[in-house]
Point group: C2
Chain length 120, copies 2
Amino acid sequence: MSKSELNLMADAACCAEPVVRDPLTHTEAAELAAVFKALSDPVRLRLLSLVASRAGGEACVCDISDGVEVSQPTISHHLKVLREAGLLTSERRASWVYYRVVPEAFARISSALSTEDVPA
Amino acid sequence: MSKSELNLMADAACCAEPVVRDPLTHTEAAELAAVFKALSDPVRLRLLSLVASRAGGEACVCDISDGVEVSQPTISHHLKVLREAGLLTSERRASWVYYRVVPEAFARISSALSTEDVPA
């Protein structure tokens, strides 16, 4: 998917109110802040990038624990935080839970941070 | 500035490593996480949107304290956090400090969250 397609999708489906167009309401600010809070931990960001950069765009804890300095239970906790923030989806297969990024969630954040309407 | 110009600028000048292309290094993850931490507070997000949506794209504490439920010293603290994260610049004029958004910082985050290279 190209960046322009992603932007279109963000405009059509995700519709996060841009931070820089109108003042955010309390509700909008609380929702966005919760997603940014999930992204505000370096280990979580590294795990997110490890999941997203895997061939097939998904990974289980077993796939990514080698590259990270924390234990598997800690990795599972961080992945759960990312899932609860809507940035990952999960699917259990046999003994493992597989995680996959949610492109719409990333598009929503990009849409919220769009500066195309910053007053000159 | 159009979104495409902003993307070009992000590609040319800001060059945040996309979270979803390659695993982030420790340094990249720490830098990005610090910016997301600044954005992870609902009051800070509302203040950021109040500054950015003002005519002229800038505001001082005196301009935005009416719309926010916290004291002026607390507002000043939050604006300082946003400035230290590179999301706002500040300039003192007479008795007041004026804040302005940094579009390049927003473009950098959008670039880091681009999902155009997520493996199919």
